[in-house]
C-alpha cells in the first residue's frame, strides 16, 4: 500500500442499528454465498460514515467469512467507494458526450467556482476534490442515464437536470447547508 493509503482514518465502531441493517442485507443472498453481500455492506458503511475507513476490509471480511483482500480488491475496483472523507455534500457532474455537448465542462467550472473547489489535482485514482471549508466536494462521473436533459448533476442522492446556466447551478448549491 502507498503512503497515502496508510493515512486513511480508522473505521469507527459499527453501531448496533447499522449492524442490524447489515445483518438483514446478508439474508438477501443464499447462505452459501454470503460474499454477494460485499457491495451492499460497503454501501451501508459508506453511507453511514461518509467513506470507508481503514479496517473496513477486515470488518467486512470477518462478517462474511472472507479474506480482507477479497474486500480490498472490491473497494479499489468500484469508482463510488472512497477511502477519504468527501465534503458534507458530494457533487457528481456527468462528463460524457451528451452532457459535454450540453455544456457539462462549463458546469463543472461554474460549480467549482461557486463551491470554491480547486480541481487541478484530480486524477483517475483520486477523482474527488474537496472544498477547503469542507462543505462541498466534487467529481466528474460518466453518463448518468439522463442524456436528454443534459447537462445533469447529482448532489448527494438528489438529481438535477438541465443545469445549463450559472444561476441554475447557484440555486442548487443554495439548497445545501
Amino acid at each position: 500500500m502507498s503512503a497515502a493509503a496508510e493515512e486513511i482514518p480508522t473505521l469507527p465502531s459499527v453501531p448496533a442499528e447499522l449492524e442490524a441493517r447489515i445483518d438483514e442485507a446478508i439474508t438477501h443472498y443464499p447462505p452459501d454465498f454470503k460474499r454477494s453481500a460485499t457491495l451492499p455492506l460497503l454501501h451501508l458503511l459508506q453511507e453511514h460514515f461518509g467513506f470507508l475507513g481503514a479496517g473496513t476490509e477486515e470488518w467486512v471480511a470477518h462478517k462474511l467469512g472472507l479474506e480482507p483482500v477479497n474486500v480490498y480488491e472490491v473497494i479499489t475496483f468500484y469508482p463510488m467507494f472512497r477511502r477519504a472523507p468527501a465534503g458534507r455534500h458530494h457533487i457528481r457532474v456527468c462528463r460524457t458526450l451528451s452532457c459535454a455537448l450540453g455544456g457539462s465542462y462549463e458546469l463543472m467550472r461554474q460549480l467549482c467556482e461557486l463551491a470554491k473547489i480547486d480541481r487541478s489535482h484530480a486524477t483517475h485514482h483520486a477523482p474527488v476534490s474537496n472544498a477547503a471549508d469542507g462543505k462541498f466536494s466534487i467529481e466528474f462521473v460518466e453518463c448518468l442515464a439522463s442524456c436528454g436533459t443534459a447537462p445533469v448533476c447529482m448532489v448527494d442522492d438528489d438529481f438535477y437536470e438541465n443545469v445549463a446556466t450559472k444561476e441554475a447551478a447557484a440555486q442548487i448549491l443554495q439548497r445545501y447547508e
Binding site: H28, Y29, P30, D32, F33, R35, S36, A37, T38, L39, P40, L42, H43, L64, L66, N70, E73, V74, F77, Y78, P79, M80, F81, R92, R95, T96, L97, S98, A100, L101, G102, H121, T123, H124, V141, E142, C143, L144, A145, S146, C147, G148, T149, A150, M154, D157, D158, F159, Y160, E161
Partner: protein
C-alpha cells in the same frame, strides 16, 4: 426529482411507457392496481410456464439491452426439468452513454417491471431474482424496494403467490459506478461480490453457467416489461406490432444537438431517421445542420448525415439487389441499422451538428472507455488508454500526421481479441469516426511533425506541458 410532464408525441405508441409522465400517476401499488395492474400476472398463472415461454418465442421479442438477442431463444436454454436452482437477474445498470429509458420505468412505474419479472421467473422457474441497479440511482433503488414490499404485502411475491404454488423473492442489488457491470457476466461477478470482471464465453453463457454457477437469465428492464404485454396480448398479437423480426415497440432516447431531445416509444421501424430528428425532435438548432448521429448508444458506429448508404434489399423474386439510401431514409429498427453498418443497440441516439469537431467528440467517447475498461485483457486495457491519449493530443493541437493511422491500428487490434464485447464497444467508435470523418482527423493531425527521438508528441512539441502532465499522473 421527477422530470417535467411531457405529453407523448402523436406518433408514439405507448406500451411500456404507458404510465411514464402520465397525469395523476404515482409509483405506488394502489395506483397500479386501479389501472388493472397485476391482472396479467393472474392470467399468466393460469398458463403453464412452458406456454409462456412459447408465447415469448412467438412474439419474436428481442432483448432491449443492446445486443438484440431473441428473448424466447435465451429462455429456451433453460431446461424445464433443471435440477439446479435457476436465477433471474434484471439488468438495471443502464450505463451505455446516450441511453435513458430504464430510468423512467424504475422511477415512475416499478410495478410494471415487477409484474414482468414475476411472470418471467414463473416461466423459467426461477425462485430467486435480483434487480441489479446502477449505484447512481439511489432513489430508484428505494422506489423498487418499496414496490417489492408492497407487492409482498398484497401476495404477489413470497410463498405460494396467488395460490399458484409458485414461490419467489426479488431483491435489489446496487452497483457502485462501474460501467462494465452492465455486461451480463461482469454483472454476475459483481453480484457474487467480486470485481466485475466479465467471464469468457464459452463456457460461461449465463443461461448455462451463470450466478453461483447455475443457469441464469439476464434481461434488460425494458425486455422484462415487454413480457407482461406479451402475456396480455398473446405472442402472435404482439408480433403484429412493429415489423417482422423487429417486433414490439422501441424506446428511442434522443440527446445532443436537436431542438427537442427526449424519449419516444415507437413501433419498431415506424419512423425513419429523418422523421425522428426533424418531426419528433424539431430538427437541428437554428442555423445548424446535422453532421453526425450515433444511433444506438456510444458503442454503435457513427453515421454521417450527408452520406448515402448502400444496402442489400430482397427482391420479389428472392434475389438480392443493391439500393441507395439517404441518411434521412434509414429506418430505425434492428435490421435496417445493421444493414447500414451500425446498430440499434440500446436505443440511445446521440446527435451532433456542424458546429462540432469530431476529434473532440471521439476524444470524449475515448475517455469514457479508457476510464471504464475493467483491465482484464491487455488489448482493451492498454488500447483504450492509448486511443484516448492520441485523440487527447489531437484535440489539444499536438497531433502528428501519423496519429489517425496509429489510432486505427490500435482499434483494429482490440476488436475481436478480448474477453467481452467492451473490446468492440471501444474500437467501433474509433474505427467509424475515422472512416466517416477523415477530414476532421487529417486536419487535426496535419498541424505538427514528430521530431526524431521524442518519446511522445507532446514531449516533442510542448516539453513544459508534457512535464506537467507526467507529474499529474
Amino acid at each position: 426529482m421527477v422530470s417535467l410532464v411531457k405529453h407523448p408525441h402523436p406518433r408514439e405508441r405507448r406500451l411500456v411507457f404507458k404510465n411514464v409522465d402520465r397525469p395523476g400517476w404515482s409509483p405506488d401499488i394502489d395506483t397500479y392496481l386501479q389501472d388493472g395492474g397485476y391482472d396479467d400476472l393472474k392470467k399468466g398463472f393460469g398458463m403453464k410456464p412452458q406456454e409462456i415461454v412459447g408465447e415469448v418465442k412467438t412474439s419474436q421479442l428481442r432483448g432491449r439491452g443492446g445486443a438484440g438477442f431473441s428473448c424466447g431463444m435465451k429462455w429456451g436454454f433453460i431446461k424445464p426439468d433443471e435440477k439446479k436452482p435457476v436465477y433471474l437477474i434484471c439488468n438495471a445498470d443502464e450505463s451505455e452513454p446516450g441511453t435513458f429509458k430504464d430510468r423512467y420505468i424504475i422511477h415512475q412505474d416499478p410495478h410494471q417491471l415487477l409484474e414482468g419479472m414475476i411472470l418471467s421467473c414463473y416461466a423459467v422457474n426461477a425462485r430467486l431474482a435480483y434487480i441489479y441497479i446502477r449505484g447512481e440511482f439511489p432513489e430508484g433503488a428505494r422506489i423498487l424496494e418499496r414496490a417489492i414490499q408492497e407487492a409482498h404485502a398484497r401476495g404477489f411475491l413470497g410463498k405460494n403467490i396467488l395460490g399458484s404454488g409458485f414461490d419467489l423473492e426479488i431483491f435489489v442489488h446496487r452497483g457502485a459506478g462501474a460501467y462494465i457491470c452492465g455486461e451480463e457476466t461482469g454483472l454476475i461477478e459483481s453480484l457474487e461480490g467480486k470485481r466485475a470482471y466479465p467471464r469468457i464465453k464459452p463456457p460461461y453463457f449465463p443461461a448455462v453457467l451463470g450466478l453461483y454457477q447455475c443457469p441464469t437469465i439476464v434481461n434488460n428492464v425494458e425486455t422484462l416489461c415487454n413480457v407482461k404485454h406479451i402475456v396480455r396480448l398473446g405472442g402472435a398479437e404482439f408480433a403484429k406490432i412493429g415489423r417482422p423480426n423487429n417486433t414490439g415497440t422501441r424506446i428511442l432516447c434522443v440527446s445532443g444537438d436537436v431542438q427537442k431531445p427526449g424519449y419516444f416509444e415507437l413501433e419498431c421501424g415506424a419512423v425513419t431517421m429523418g422523421e425522428l430528428l426533424n418531426d419528433l425532435c424539431g430538427g437541428p438548432k437554428p442555423g445548424r445542420k446535422f453532421k453526425a448521429v450515433i444511433p444506438g448508444g456510444s458503442s454503435a458506429k457513427v453515421l454521417r448525415a450527408d452520406d448515402t448508404y448502400k444496402i442489400k434489399v430482397k427482391q420479389p423474386d428472392g434475389s438480392m439487389a443493391d439500393q441507395e439510401l439517404k441518411f434521412d431514409d434509414i429506418v430505425l429498427d434492428f435490421d435496417s441499422l445493421a444493414a447500414v453498418g451500425s446498430m440499434a443497440g440500446s436505443g440511445g441516439v446521440i446527435v451532433m451538428d456542424d458546429s462540432r469537431d469530431m476529434v473532440w467528440a471521439l476524444n470524449n467517447i475515448n475517455e469514457f472507455y479508457a476510464h471504464e475498461s475493467c483491465g482484464q485483457c491487455t488489448p482493451c486495457r492498454e488500447g483504450s488508454l492509448w486511443m484516448k491519449k492520441i485523440t487527447d493530443r489531437l484535440a489539444g493541437g499536438y497531433g502528428v500526421a501519423a496519429d489517425p493511422r496509429t489510432l486505427k491500428s490500435v482499434a483494429d487490434n482490440i476488436a475481436g481479441r478480448t474477453i467481452c464485447a467492451f473490446g468492440e464497444a471501444c474500437a467501433w467508435p474509433v474505427q467509424s469516426f475515422l472512416q466517416k470523418f477523415p477530414e476532421d482527423f487529417a486536419g487535426a493531425a496535419a498541424k505538427n511533425e514528430l521530431p526524431r527521438g521524442a518519446r511522445t508528441a507532446l514531449e516533442a512539441l510542448n516539453p513544459a506541458l508534457a512535464a506537467a502532465a507526467a507529474e499529474r499522473h
